[in-house]
């Protein structure tokens, strides 16, 4: 397996925890302000809105393939950053948390991308933004926010696990 610098792994672990902490804050705010406290009640809506569930299959400890894991990690972060961007204008109270979360996710994606460049495992240029979910009502934006953020949480849980495994 390719040698991954310890500082990269430690920074990535910290970034994952940083994003998870802020995601929890956002979920708490969405629950408190809009009474949307159960992501599992929004799965159907998620289908129709096209909220992604980014795969991390190559990062499972049983079948870890480092290069594919890093690119899945990067692509997933890129996807969720897009979702968070679509939440812009969700509400003045939540906007700061969403903005900071989006910046943290974007910065983590850059950390991964730059490490992939350093390892020379980058095929083409940075992935372009895939189609972002289009919210047509305030409710969809809030519900989409709850679903995307809770999926980002579990995505990071898996990522944290894999990165921990590598340290």
């Amino acid at each position: 397996t390719l040698p991954l610098p310890r500082s990269f792994l430690l920074k990535s672990l910290e970034q994952a925890r940083k994003i998870q902490a802020r995601s929890s804050v956002l979920l708490e705010q969405l629950c408190a302000v809009y009474k949307l406290c159960h992501p599992e009640e929004l799965v159907l809506l998620g289908h129709s809105l096209g909220i992604p569930q980014a795969p991390l299959s190559h990062c499972s400890s049983q079948a870890l393939q480092l290069t594919e894991c890093l690119s899945q990690l990067h692509r997933g972060l890129f996807l969720y950053q897009g979702c968070l961007q679509a939440l812009a204008g969700i509400s003045p109270e939540l906007a700061p948390t969403v903005d900071m979360l989006q910046l943290d996710v974007a910065n983590f994606a850059t950390t991964i991308w730059q490490q992939m460049e350093t390892l020379g495992v980058v095929a083409a240029g940075q992935p372009t933004q895939s189609t972002m979910p289009a919210f047509t009502s305030a409710f969809q934006r809030r519900a989409g926010g709850v679903l995307a953020t809770s999926r980002l949480q579990s995505f990071l849980e898996t990522a944290h696990h894999a990165l921990n495994h590598l340290t």
Binding site: E41, V43, L44, L45, H47, S48, L49, T136, Q140
Partner: protein, 308 residues
Amino acid sequence: SCGHIRISVPIVRLGDPVMASCTVSPNCSKLDREPRILWRLEDGPNQPGDKQWRLPDGTQESTITLPHMNHTKAFLFCLVPWANSFQVLDQAEIRAGYPPASPSNLSCLMYLTTNSLVCQWEPGPETHLPTNFTLKSFRSRADCQYQEDSIPDCVPGDRQNTCSIHRKHLLLYQNMVIWVQAENVLGTSESPKLCLDPMDVVKLEPPELQALDINPDLVPRQPGCLWLSWKPWEPGGFMEQECELRYQPQLRGANWTLVSHLPSSKDQFKLCGLHQAPVYTLQIRCIRSPLPGLWSSWSPGLQLRPSL
């Protein structure tokens, strides 16, 4: 999207009923053909609507009436059973409150230091709804019957019941009409109108009262007397004023003695007839006169011992 809530009136008077309908489109892929539509208010129980029926195009519609809206703000959810859980299809916010009462106790003061007319008022009981207060005014003539030039609305800061009208909008020495308008979704109200000339409501500060050291060689010492001097508060110096002085021995139960109709500026003022009290407290205040005005507050107490 699969489901959509429509509310008769999203903002109602507290206690009034609310009617809502939720429609679930037939081409909502993953759902049963005729899903049972359920409702939930905030974190309450999932409950069926009053009626549910099928529209010609296959759309399912359910209606519900909340007899008394007692929350000032609540979310209404439309759900359907799915797998072994419930899925939220849409959410609508309902708000309830009151139309604004008439703002009261409107009063204004003209501040010579900031050159602005500051008005304040009491907003009246809580409406539970976003309510905008606006200080409205226009220039008028003597009896305030006719509107001359208009003055831009003064919009107070968030949740503030005071507003400051900039000097450039004021025509000093002329009357203007001022009132407060309160407005929210359920209604509008206005305070009684004030008719005033900003210069008649100047916030006047008292003069600075000073003790005079009298040179015993020049002026023979007189027991029981005090020598004072004062000058008007500088920014209000251009206004003719009349002042009154009050003094009181620092003895329990002592009363104030008042000296009225004093000038606003006095280089030397002799106050006699004071008995041998330990110390006297003296204060002065002024009012614009003979033109109308408001009394200044009393100056800070000056503690002096009469000459022995």
